[in-house]
């Protein structure tokens, strides 16, 4: 998603100003010269300055450019679907892993993405069925990372 310098400049200016406003609400410690507001204020000012540079650049060179242009792949239905699935997978993981547990959630994510990208359902299911438990075993047993068993699944196992 490309934006032109006008939008970029306005966004930087807006973000910088918002940061400065928020930082103004931070308390200042009584005996110190500088408090928690200093750095955010400087950062906000810097962002606003960058925004002004972009606006100046837009005003002097590229006035005619389109404000927001979608990427080339947006035109392809399959590419849109691929990206949507890629973004949906971690979201699904975040929502489901505590209940379903790592193995089931990873299986669903892998199987769905493999089936969508590679278009061979049997292969997707088999690969996901192998990789999900394997990853669970490696990460929990060898690397000692506490992957969730899942609140719905755990009573069945124990």
């Amino acid at each position: 998603m490309r934006v032109n310098d006008l939008v970029l400049g306005l966004a930087s200016l807006g973000l910088g100003s918002a940061v400065i406003v928020l930082a103004a609400g931070f308390p200042s410690p009584p005996q110190q010269a500088y408090g928690p507001a200093l750095f955010p204020t400087l950062i906000g000012a810097g962002m606003a300055a960058c925004g002004l540079v972009f606006l100046f650049h837009w005003a002097t060179t590229s006035r005619g450019s389109t404000a927001v242009s979608l990427p080339d792949w947006w035109r392809s239905h399959s590419a849109r679907l691929n990206v949507a699935a890629l973004v949906a997978a971690p979201v699904f993981y975040l929502l489901a892993v505590e209940r379903l547990g790592f193995v089931l959630t990873a299986f669903v994510c892998l199987a769905a993405l493999l089936a969508l990208f590679h278009r061979r359902i049997a292969f997707a299911l088999v690969t996901a069925a192998v990789v999900a438990p394997l990853a669970f075993a490696v990460f929990t047993e060898i690397l000692l990372v506490p992957l969730p068993l899942g609140s719905l699944v755990e009573p069945l196992i124990r």
């Binding site: 930082a23 928690p36 955010p40 990206v83 890629l86 971690p90 993981y93 493999l114």
Partner: protein, 500 residues
């Protein structure tokens, strides 16, 4: 000499050799997977070292961390996903070389120059440890502040697009580093009541998201069916290395020396070493425009630097008990557990420990070449797999890597958001590298600035009073002023003929 012989005797036992080989394999694996870092590898080794004597325990840590820092180059080169933060500085150049069909040369360079850089670092550690430590102990918050600012300046100038975009990226990174409970004041900033944000945004999930997830978006959205890596059989990795060395030995020396020096500084490790070497190499380069597009000069400098920094980090750790980086912080803990107190007394009471660390570094960097060769060839087979199959697997690994750092799902969310933001930034030619480095250094900069300001009672002139701080400060400010001055001079020259 007696202590060296004793150290050799302790190390060259079959059991210890076995431990070194196993930790080498472990370090390679941990470094090669994005999200699993050298620090994590070391942390996971600690329970294993409980059962070992001090010398093999330290040898295991040294070997694993040295291998991991090299192994981070492999996915960076082949997939544009740095395996460890230390490889992030030159990931664009390395990937560009892969796309141009020169992956073998790039990987071979990474391997051999990492090993050589690590050896240089080990030799410097051996020769100069006590002297260097005497200099660095005088560094205070003023010096650390300017050093971190210098690091940020280098990052902004590395970006090849407009300076304003580089600066914006830097500021975004700094803003993210402000999130959380404030450094010196304890006040929560930009947390919006979220408990998970109190500790700030973690660097590793952000890096995985910014580099791995955004690359995945690009990969799945492009129509090309070609696999992520090229299908050519693995060529000779060592071909062309001698020629590269003859051409770029100055870069190698620069990278190794700078890397060791930065490694010696407490808190500054292989990541900063790689960035600074890359920026310096570019500054002195005759072809700076090639950087970011496949310049091997930059790769030579930074890949030697990050491995040299691994050895350099042990100097303050052994001499003062102050960690040079996160890995040595853990190693110091291990030393305490073993009843060896790091500090000047260790040179007197247990000199064989110092020698064991040195010999382990020499062994690890020598082992790196055969192990690394074998490992690279194995990793290439993974990339013969078409990207449609690899992408979901990499996504799963990214989720796991992001989760594994703090064992919190929040970091998976951070990875997702960072990936989306980084994708949009790169679509608009805003580089993400300065943001990542700013996120890493932001806390240190603010903490050192605040500490210095408190010490000086709010006076800004105090930042230039101490000699080293003054020099670093002037260098940093002139780096900032240069492009603006040059721009004004150029505009003045362009306008001059019009005036006449």
């Amino acid at each position: 000499m007696a202590s060296t012989l004793e150290a050799l005797n302790l190390l060259l036992q079959p059991g210890v050799i076995g431990v070194i080989l196993a930790s080498a394999a472990f370090g390679l694996f941990m470094g090669a997977i994005p999200g699993l870092t050298a620090t994590m590898a070391t942390a996971l080794l600690v329970p294993v070292t409980f059962f070992m004597d001090p010398v093999p325990a330290l040898a295991a840590i040294v070997t694993a961390s040295a291998m991991a820092i090299f192994a981070g180059d492999i996915p960076g080169t082949l997939l544009r996903i740095p395996g460890t933060p230390g490889s992030a500085a030159y990931v664009d150049d390395a990937y560009a070389m892969t796309k141009a069909g020169r992956a073998e040369l790039c990987l071979g360079v990474n391997l051999c120059f990492s090993a050589a850089g690590g050896l240089i670092g080990a030799i410097v550690l051996l020769l100069a440890a006590p002297q260097l430590a005497k200099f660095v102990i005088r560094f205070g918050s003023f010096e650390y502040f300017w050093l971190a600012m210098l690091g940020l300046t280098c990052a902004a100038f590395i970006s090849s697009t407009s300076l304003a975009r580089g600066a914006l990226s830097l500021l975004i990174g700094l803003l993210i580093s402000c999130i959380g409970i404030g450094v010196t004041t304890g006040f929560p900033r930009f947390t919006f009541g979220q408990i998970d944000l109190m500790g700030g945004v973690n660097f590793i999930p952000t890096m995985i998201g910014a580099f791995a997830f955004s690359e995945l978006i690009r990969s799945v959205s492009s129509a090309k069916a070609a696999p992520l890596g090229n299908l050519k059989p693995i060529g000779n990795l060592l071909q062309g290395i001698a020629a590269t060395f003859r051409q770029h030995w100055q870069r190698f020396t620069l990278g190794s020396i700078v890397g060791t020096m930065i490694g010696i500084l407490p808190g500054a490790g292989s990541t900063l070493a790689a960035w600074v070497s890359y920026a310096l190499s570019r500054k002195f380069s005759r072809q700076p425009e090639a950087y970011g597009k496949g310049s091997i000069e930059g790769i030579v400098a930074s890949t030697s630097a990050n491995n040299a920094a691994v050895s350099g980090a042990w100097v303050p750790a052994l001499v003062f008990g102050i960690p040079g980086d996160a890995v040595t912080a853990i190693a110091i803990g291990v030393l305490f557990i073993k009843g060896l107190n790091p500090g000047p007394t260790i040179f007197i009471n247990s000199p064989e420990v110092i020698d064991a660390v040195l010999i382990s570094f020499l062994l690890a960097n020598l082992l790196m070449v055969p192990f690394g060769l074998a490992f690279i060839k194995l990793s290439r087979y993974v990339l013969q797999v078409p990207k449609e199959i690899l992408s979901p697997l990499i996504l799963l690994l990214s989720i796991l890597g992001a989760f594994a750092i703090n064992n919190t799902l929040f970091d998976v969310g951070v990875m997702l958001v960072a990936g989306l933001v980084a994708y949009v930034m790169e679509e608009n030619e805003i580089p993400i590298a300065p943001a990542i480095l700013a996120l890493l250094l932001g806390t240190s900069i603010e903490e050192n600035f605040m500490t210095s300001a408190i010490k000086s009672g709010g006076s800004l002139l105090a930042f230039f009073e101490r000699p080293v701080a003054g020099v670093l400060g002037v260098v940093t400010l002139s780096l900032w002023a240069c492009p603006i001055l040059l721009h004004l001079i150029r505009r003045g020259r362009a306008l001059a003929p019009l005036r006449d």
